[in-house]
Each structure stands twice: as C-alpha cells, then as structure tokens.
Amino acid sequence: MMDILEIFKEASIGSLSSVWQIAIIVIPLMIIMQLAKDYKILDYISRFLKPVTDFFGMSKESGFPLLIGLIFGLSYGAGVIIQSSKEGNLSKKDLVLLIVFLASCHAVIEDTLIFVAVGASGWVLFGARLIVAIIATYMMSKRLEKVFSLQEMDIQREVIKQNI
C-alpha cells in the first residue's frame, strides 16, 4: 500500500514538473511567435525557409512549425502546428509532411546531447536523423502528390462523364 502511495507521489511531482517545464518554454515561445507575426518577422522567417518548404512541397507557413519542432521538440512543434492550423494556414498535406519529418527528427539538441553524454557520436546521430527525415519526407511528398493528382483526375473524369 505504501508503495502505491510512493508511486503516486512520484507521478504527481514528475508530471507537474514536466508541465511546468513546458509552460516556461511554450508561453514565451507563443509570445515571441505572436510578436513575430504582428511585426511581420514571421513572413521573413518563412521566406528564409522557403527553399526547404518548397523542396518538400509544403506551403511556406509550414517552415516555422518545422523549425520549432526540429529545435525544441515534438510537443512544442505540435503546439505551434495546432495554433497555425486554427488560423487555417496549413493544409492536410502540410500536416502529414510535418509529422513525417518531425516524427523522425525532433528536439535534435536535447536528444543528441543526452546520448553524447554516454559516449555516442553526436554527429553520426544528428546526421543520420536529419538525412533519414529528409528522405522520408521527400518520398512521402512525392507519394502525396501522386495521390492528389489521382484524386484530381477522378474529379475530372466525373466531370467529363457528366458532360457526356
């Protein structure tokens, strides 16, 4: 019985401190994001990342969530993605591609450093994750393009049929 209480205490303290750690990053992050948006700096960042988002066939609005997830982590990236989705800036394709990229490569600083601390090679880790994420996202983007163009063809075919 004592054990369960101990575990409960551990989980309570641990989960609350995780939420606190998120709050102290996410609140300033959202304030900076809002300021950047209102002062048109976000446009500048998106334009800077345009070659990257173009390469993956994403809208330029995906650049900022991509950058945040890559540096800070999946939860923060997801937070920014959700806020951007609410404002209607991201398409379903953007969302899928962002998740494919961030699922394989996120929080690169933290995740790499914890392994470097136990003797793994940081550059091998970082390089492998980045390369794999780029390949996976690119492949998915090509596949989605095909899916979307097939859907379009179906629609056109329907239109032709109706006209006949």
């Binding site: 551990e10 989980a11 989960s15 996410v26 304030i31 994001m33 993605i81 003797g119």
Partner: protein, 144 residues
C-alpha cells in the same frame, strides 16, 4: 498598442497550448510511472534479448531499447550506464532510439494533430529497425 496586444494574445495562446499539452502529459506520465514499477518491462525485454545479437548488440541491451521506447530517453540513459557497453554498441543503441522513443507520450501528442497514431508508430519503429540493420548489423559486421 500593438506590442501589448501581441504579448497578451501570445500569452493566451501559450497558456492554451500548455493546458492542452498538460491534459495529455499528466495521464500518460502517471501511466508510465506505474508501468515502470511493474515487472512488465523486464518481461518484454526478456522476450527481445535473443534478437539483440542480430544488431551486434549484447542481449542485455534489450532493456535499454524497451525503456527508451516505453518510458523515455532519460530512463534509457540510466539503463545504458548500468551496463558496460563499448562505444560502438552505445552508438547503435543511440541511433535506434533517436528514431523511436517515448512512444506513449509522443504518440499521444501527435494524435492531437488528427493523424493516425498507429502509422506514426509504425514509421518510427521501422526507422529504428532499419537504422539498426544498417549501422549495427552491416557496419558492425564489417568492423568485426
């Protein structure tokens, strides 16, 4: 004032996001904390032990992969420290775990984005096994 309005709006969004993430994190954190205190993880690790050789890893490395995937990377690091692994083995494990870790927590967050959780887990686990095959099995085989 644009500035104060931006700060206010940003703080509101930050708080909303924190609450949204908190609602996911707290229950999952409770779940994995209880899970860690059960023999379940040791049991699962035992099942995987025979397969570790395939990646040129010792059988006992299974517990590191299980803890990293079911709990989080910090738990995995604790387990790595408890074993005596050489730098090559640590790099193989680190590579595998960087693609797939904290699956309960991170998948719960990703589900918030209305994508298929099982597909995301499948992608991550495949990448983990793929990189293990490439680096551990192939490169490890060449080094030997």
């Amino acid at each position: 004032m644009v500035f104060f309005n931006s700060v206010k709006e940003g703080a509101k969004k930050g708080l909303e996001t924190t609450i949204m993430l908190g609602k996911i994190i707290i229950p999952v954190y409770f779940f994995i904390t209880f899970l860690r205190h059960t023999p379940a993880l040791d049991f699962i690790a035992k099942l995987f032990e025979p397969f570790m050789n395939f990646f040129n890893l010792p059988g006992e490395a299974a517990i590191v992969l299980v803890m990293g995937n079911f709990l989080n990377l910090y738990a995995a690091i604790g387990a790595i420290k408890a074993l005596s692994l050489n730098p090559f083995e640590v790099t193989v494990i680190a590579l595998m775990l960087s693609f797939s870790h904290s699956l309960f927590m991170e998948t719960a967050v990703v589900k918030k984005l209305k994508v298929s959780a099982s597909k995301v887990v499948l992608l991550r686990v495949s990448l983990m096994l793929g990189i293990g095959l490439l680096y551990g099995t192939l490169l490890g085989g060449l080094i030997k």
